[in-house]
């Protein structure tokens, strides 16, 4: 889990989260952004095998939600999951190692980009079946209650998962049994290469409302908004008042995966430029921090420099780390 500072400072304006915590949010978002940019480079440099689905543009959601959680709370993630893993507390060296198929990776190189799981930070795993973790997150929430803890579970999924029946089976049971689970829908507008409006009838939030689940439809680019909604939903879950659904409206800055370069047939360059220039979650937070005098340009640059150094060290660690021994192929099939 992310480090929280012991000493809390007082900012010029009272806000729900203390100032240096907002700067910490910024740090986490920068970490995801720079991690993903490095992943892109690794992939383009043919150093990374397989697929990479970048989270760039959606950072405010992972950070805004995970900052409302405890280390012992659970998340389930998606094929576009690097941001969730980092926000829940994964370390970059072991993340890069996993992406490169190295033994030092979170899954000893057996999972890769789409299956990072980190039990210690409560990450039950990224899932490459769209909507595939809806049952798992709901089951983790049920387990938390049966074991008498106040843990909660967050199920991250995209607009593509709205087409999967499992999601509605799970939401129905979560609502019936008031399970402590928060369904976080990251609507980045595209099911792979198809605009969600071509695949999704009716209002998205109405689907959760039909189960009488608390539903928040929010701007997923503003980390403050996301965090506020997450705090409310997590508090409700913790006090046993049942599940919730946060519909985060967001945008995938890159393609479906790094190889998805030619996108003109499903979305325009101008649409992409508008989101990048006006709705970049990092820029929105940076501007707000500066405007409210919680951080100046120098402080923000210092954050970026710090993270950049951390990324370099982490990627070097991974590039130099050994691959698993060939004998490991038959290990871990059974417990």
């Amino acid at each position: 889990m992310v480090q929280t500072k012991k000493k809390k400072s007082r900012g010029p304006k009272p806000v729900s989260v203390r100032d240096e915590r907002w700067l910490h949010f910024y740090r986490q978002m920068v970490k995801i952004r720079l991690f993903e940019e490095e992943v892109n480079q690794l992939y383009l440099g043919a150093k990374m095998p397989g697929l990479a689905h970048l989270y760039i543009g959606e950072e405010a959601i992972a950070v805004g939600v995970c900052e409302a959680l405890r280390q012992t709370d659970y998340i389930t993630s998606t094929h576009r999951g690097h941001g969730h893993c980092i926000a829940k507390g994964a370390t970059l060296d072991r993340m890069f190692s996993e992406l490169l198929g190295k033994a030092a990776g979170y899954c000893r190189g057996k999972g890769g980009s789409m299956h990072i799981a980190d039990q210690e930070s409560g990450n039950l795993g990224a899932n490459a079946i769209v909507g595939g973790s809806a049952g798992i997150a709901t089951g983790a929430a049920m387990s938390a209650r049966m074991r008498g803890t106040d843990q909660v579970a967050v199920c991250f999924f995209g607009d593509g998962a709205l087409g999967q029946g499992l999601l509605y089976e799970a939401m129905n049971m979560a609502a019936l049994w008031k399970l402590p689970v928060i369904y976080v829908c990251e609507n980045n507008l595209y099911n792979e290469y198809t605009h969600y409006s071509e695949t999704t009838a009716g209002r998205v939030s109405a689907r959760a409302e039909a189960f009488d689940i608390l539903t928040e439809s929010i701007d997923g680019q503003d980390v403050k908004v996301v965090h506020t909604a997450a705090l409310k939903c997590v508090a409700q879950a913790r006090r046993g008042a049942g599940p919730s659904f946060i519909l985060c409206n967001t945008y995938r800055f890159h393609g479906h995966h790094v190889g998805d370069i030619d996108r003109a047939y499903y979305r325009s360059k101008s649409e992409e430029e508008q989101w990048k220039s006006r709705r970049d979650p990092l820029k929105l937070l940076a501007d707000w921090l500066k405007k409210n005098k919680m951080a100046d340009a120098k402080a923000l640059q210092a954050v970026e420099n710090d993270i950049s150094t951390e990324i370099k060290a982490a990627v070097n660690f991974a590039l130099n780390a050994p691959y698993p021994e060939p004998e490991e192929v038959t290990q871990h099939v059974y417990a």
């Binding site: 039990q119 899932n127 798992i136 709901t138 089951g139 929430a141 387990s143 049966m146 499992l166 049971m173």
Partner: protein
């Protein structure tokens, strides 16, 4: 080579006759008493005790928090089971008919079976999915299949097919204590079968076949519903002076290859009998294990008998043709033993 059943030795006085259904019920109750993390979730499992009444009385002892009636959402309850298993519970997911396994397949195949491996050995999924198999109940094509080959194909799952009340109890207790996802198949026609079951605590390890009858001329390898068929065939073969050995594999995963190969090396002939569809099924896998391991000892080709490759029909005169019978097994065995 022959494996013995691992039942702890018990005095004759303490062996009782109970039904297969009662044996399952006892195993569940004992494990739920022993371990508070064990719970049951499924359709009509609580007050109804399932349509087969196998779970009758459990909700009275353990309450609705541990015997949970779910909506008709097989994929959903399988997924909830996986998530609960990953986070410290030992769920038992009840899937009423084996035909409905198809609805749980993503959760079983892409999630439960792979989570341990994909996480590099960090996560585990101690889940039991109980379901049924078997035709001959006049239930037609969507309530009669034996789909255990589907899950036996997937690395990461264990698959259990008990054929007697005592095996059912001992194997189910082991399945519940196992740290892996286990799919446990019960033959619907066998629920009222009576048999000796020790009164004392015992378990039977997964992966150990049981020689249900010893013989020297031919090995009849059978699973679940076909074990009784094989035993009946062995009885009539005895009349014809042919000594048949009957091996109950008990678990297709892990498969006790040594016991199968050892038996056929001794008898030189084998028929594999299973109620799954014959093509691409359990009989094919076991027959090839035998052929590879006992080829130079064989006096006849290894033969297979599965369910006919047709959807299970409703009309009794049609349905009864689709499943191997003791007569057909004995007839085939007689032919194989002609030049004995």
């Amino acid at each position: 080579m022959a494996a013995k059943t691992q039942d702890t030795a018990v005095s004759e006085a303490k062996v009782r006759e109970i039904t297969f259904a009662q044996a399952i019920n006892e195993a569940l109750a004992e494990e739920m008493r022993r371990d508070p993390t064990v719970f049951i979730i499924g359709e009509d499992v609580a007050e109804a005790g399932t349509p087969f009444k196998v779970l009758s009385g459990l909700v009275k002892e353990f309450g609705t928090n541990r015997v949970i009636d779910s909506p008709i959402s097989e994929a959903g309850i399988a997924g909830i089971g996986v998530g609960a298993a990953m986070t410290g519970m030992r769920p038992i997911v009840d899937i009423m008919f084996g035909d409905f396994l198809t609805l749980t397949m993503d959760q079983l195949v892409n999630q439960a079976a792979k989570i341990r491996y994909m996480s590099g050995g960090k996560l585990k999924v101690p889940l039991v999915l109980r379901t049924t198999l078997g035709a001959a109940r006049r239930s037609a094509a969507q309530h009669s299949q034996s789909l255990h080959a589907w899950v036996s194909h997937i690395p990461g799952l264990k698959v259990v097919l008990p054929a007697t009340p005592s095996d059912a109890k001992g194997l189910l207790k082991s399945a519940i204590r196992d740290d892996n996802p286990v799919v446990f198949f019960e033959d619907k026609m066998m629920y009222q079968l009576r048999g000796s079951v020790p009164a004392e605590e015992y378990t039977i390890p997964l992966g150990v076949a049981d020689i249900k009858r010893t013989g020297t001329d031919i090995t009849l390898v059978a699973t679940s519903s076909m074990v009784q068929v094989a035993l009946e065939a062995a009885g009539s073969l005895h009349e014809a002076d042919i000594s048949a050995e009957v091996i109950d594999v008990r678990t297709t995963v892990p498969l006790d290859k040594d016991t199968l190969i050892g038996s056929v090396r001794k008898t030189s002939r084998a028929i594999v009998i299973d109620e799954g569809y014959e093509s691409y099924g359990v009989t094919a896998e076991i027959a090839s294990v035998i052929a590879e391991g006992a080829f130079y000892y064989l006096d006849a080709p290894v033969r297979r008998m599965g369910a006919m490759d047709v959807p299970v029909p409703f009309s009794p005169v049609l349905e009864d043709q689709t499943v191997p019978t003791a007569e057909k097994v004995a007839e085939l065995a007689l032919g194989l033993c002609k030049n004995r």
